[in-house]
């Protein structure tokens, strides 16, 4: 809990972030970026089965939020879950191995990209069902409330998920029970090929918070400090037992909805305008400008991350595939 205490103290001001924490956030964001760029390449080469949804461009959200969490806190994720896993401390080795369906994968090869989980780290799973995470996070918050040790649950969800019934039911339930849960919207402007301006009847997802009598804010999801501060307030509030909040982060995905998306629904100008505001570059500039790090230090991190990801892919490809009969295990804890 010690580390959590520190984090709570730091909760509300990004200025208070010391060099070590900043370097850690930079490293996590870089790890997510490189993880996704590599995954995209490997998918194109045909190595990765199934559907893969990449988080590149949205790193500031997962990292800015999870900076306030410990392994004792819970998160729920969705189909675009790699960034949440890395930010919550899931081992990159186990993630790559899972993408390749290996015995050494986070889910022993049974889940794949859309179901990566690590319950020991408080990562309650990516989810193949849009909106599936809302009730699960609400339930984890119910456990947190029962445990009475200041745990919180965070539910990451996309703009498209904001129109599912489970959004409504869970925010209402969390509201009346004053549960320690924070709903973090990752509004990247699209649900598959459909713009949020078409699929959602209000302008901002945060406009809906009032219907549940909870605080709702919209922040620049490309700015890790803005995310860090807004999430910090909401999480501290939850830890104090004052109930749930809704934090909307306006962000953008660099890759297609999934690998293979023709991407004809958005223009090059649009993509370029967002890449020009890259969240990792933004953090990098601010650290250099404020003398919190040198280009060498950051360069070293970049190289170390690259090595870690190379190792992870090498290890995963050397790792054994599960035996076919493994299909039959893990359905029940016990049966008959």
């Amino acid at each position: 809990m010690a580390s959590k205490a520190t984090k709570q103290a730091a909760a509300t001001s990004a200025q208070a972030l010391d060099k070590a924490r900043l370097l850690h956030m930079y490293e996590q964001m870089t790890t997510i970026r490189q993880f996704e760029e590599r995954a995209s390449k490997e998918f194109a080469s045909g190595k990765v089965p199934g559907f893969v949804h990449l988080y590149a461009g949205e790193e500031a959200v997962a990292v800015g939020v999870c900076a306030h969490l410990t392994d004792d806190d819970y998160i729920t994720s969705h189909h675009r879950g790699h960034g949440h896993c890395i930010a919550k401390g899931v081992e990159v080795d186990s993630m790559v191995a899972e993408l390749l369906g290996r015995e050494t994968g986070a889910c022993r090869g049974k889940g794949g990209s859309m179901h990566i989980a690590d319950v020991d780290k408080g990562m309650l799973g990516a989810n193949g069902i849009v909106g599936g995470g809302f009730p699960l996070a609400t339930g984890a918050a119910l456990t947190a409330k029962h445990n009475k040790r200041g745990q919180v649950a965070v539910c990451f969800f996309g703009d498209g998920a904001a129109n599912q019934g489970t959004f409504h039911e869970s925010l209402n339930l969390a509201g009346i029970w004053k549960l320690p849960v924070v709903f973090v919207a990752e509004n990247n402007g699209y649900a598959e090929s459909t713009p949020v301006t078409y699929h959602m009847s209000c302008r901002d997802i945060a406009d809906r918070a009032a219907g549940y009598n909870m605080p709702g804010v919209t922040v620049d999801g490309l700015d890790v400090f803005a995310v860090y501060e807004a999430a910090g307030e909401a999480i501290a509030r939850a830890r104090r037992g004052e109930g749930p909040s809704l934090v909307e982060c306006k962000t953008y995905r660099y890759y297609g909805h999934f690998e293979g998306d023709p991407l004809t629904y958005r223009t090059k100008q649009e993509v370029d305008s967002f890449r020009a505001r890259d969240p990792i570059q933004k953090l990098r500039q601010s650290m250099l400008a404020r003398g919190m790090a040198t280009a060498e230090e950051l360069g070293t991190i970049d190289r170390n991350v690259a090595d870690r990801i190379d190792d992870a892919w090498r290890l995963a490809q050397e790792a054994p595939l599960p035996a076919p009969e493994e299909t039959l295990t893990d359905v029940y804890v016990s049966y008959r």
């Binding site: 986070a106 179901h115 609400t138 339930g139 119910l142 804890v333």
Partner: protein
């Protein structure tokens, strides 16, 4: 094991199981619509004013308080999904889905989340929760409050299904379900709540996956589910007059299914009739028939007969509803034709 024996109703037996399990394990909580009632009201009578729509959970909030007996809004996907999230993180929720017919509004949380997370996470998670829900026609509750639907739950991997037919079974099976580490759905037949029977005092469990031979017989095996056990027993009485000796098997749980008890009985009687109130297509009735048609084929002397509800929703009007429910008469006719 149990000591003294008294007469309790099926509803009282369920209430007692909940009370005993909540006493022995503080992680067990109840959730559901009006499982206590009158939430937030000040005057004394409001406390515990419902205890569930038919009063089955009455009194529990008085002993365990509103922290462990949670009235929910009408938000089945929300609270059943919350039960899944709570179970995956250490609580042992018992969620009440008032009528099983409402599973349509929360089905994803049951079959796709709670039932699958352990598998999809490679065995590194568990979902120790129970869903209690009401089934059955006979009350004139019509098309959206009278279904059985346990066939659909039994079809789905990761779910265990329990169908108690007596007060004693209801208590022992519900206790076992609450102690089980998987997602268990207990189907309570609303037509049985007022039925009385002998129930042992104190804690006891009936292991999931053990059928019960409710009546021994030599000429034909009747496998009957939930309330149909009593229709089958009535039919067996009538058949005895005609010199036909029917064995009545109550599987008690459908997933897991006690295949051996059924197959052994067929090996003895060489005839099989399945009585089921659920709709007939892709049902538990066809499931048990297929089991016997494969693994007891050489033992069978006659076609396998199913006495089930028709392929229709449940009608409202009493004569129609009675026509819908398998009756002792239909069972007798089917078996006399089979023997003749």
């Amino acid at each position: 094991m149990a000591v003294a024996i008294r007469q309790l109703t099926y509803a009282q037996a369920i209430n007692e199981a909940l009370r005993e399990e909540m006493r022995r394990d503080p992680r067990v909580i109840l959730m559901g619509e009006d499982v206590a009632g009158g939430a937030g009201k000040e005057h004394p009578e409001a406390e515990d004013s419902w205890g569930g729509v038919l009063g089955v959970t009455k009194g529990l909030v008085k002993e365990f308080g509103r922290e462990r007996v949670l009235d929910t809004p009408i938000t089945e996907a929300g609270f059943i999904g919350a039960a899944v999230g709570a179970a995956a993180t250490g609580l042992r929720p018992v969620a009440e889905l008032m009528f099983v017919d409402f599973f349509g509004v929360c089905w994803d949380m049951i079959f796709d989340q709670g039932a699958k997370l352990r598998y999809m996470f490679g065995g590194k998670a568990r979902c120790p929760m129970v869903i209690r829900t009401m089934i059955g026609a006979g009350m004139g509750a019509a098309g959206q409050h009278s279904g059985c639907h346990y066939s659909v739950f039994t079809h789905m991997p990761g779910i265990k299904t329990v169908v108690p037919s007596t007060p004693a079974d209801a208590k022992g099976l519900l206790s076992a379900a609450i102690r089980d580490d998987d997602l268990v759905v207990v189907f309570e037949n609303k037509m049985l709540y007022s039925m009385t029977g002998e129930v042992p005092e104190g804690e006891y469990v009936i292991p999931l996956g053990q059928a019960d031979v409710k009546r021994e017989g030599a000429d034909v095996t009747i496998v009957a589910i939930s309330r149909m056990v009593h229709q089958a027993l009535a039919a067996a009485e009538a058949l005895e007059q005609q010199g036909i000796s029917a064995e009545v098997i109550d599987p008690r749980t459908l997933s897991p299914l006690d295949e051996e008890t059924i197959l052994n009985s067929v090996a003895k009687t060489h005839r099989l009739v399945i009585v089921d109130e659920d709709n007939p297509r892709c049902s538990v009735a066809t499931d048990i028939a297929a089991l016997a048609a494969d693994r007891a084929f050489t033992e069978l002397d006659a076609p396998i007969k199913l006495v089930t509800a028709p392929h229709t929703p449940v009608p409202f009007s009493p004569p129609l509803e009675q026509f819908y429910i398998p009756s002792p008469e239909r069972i007798v006719e089917t078996i006399t034709a089979l023997m003749g």
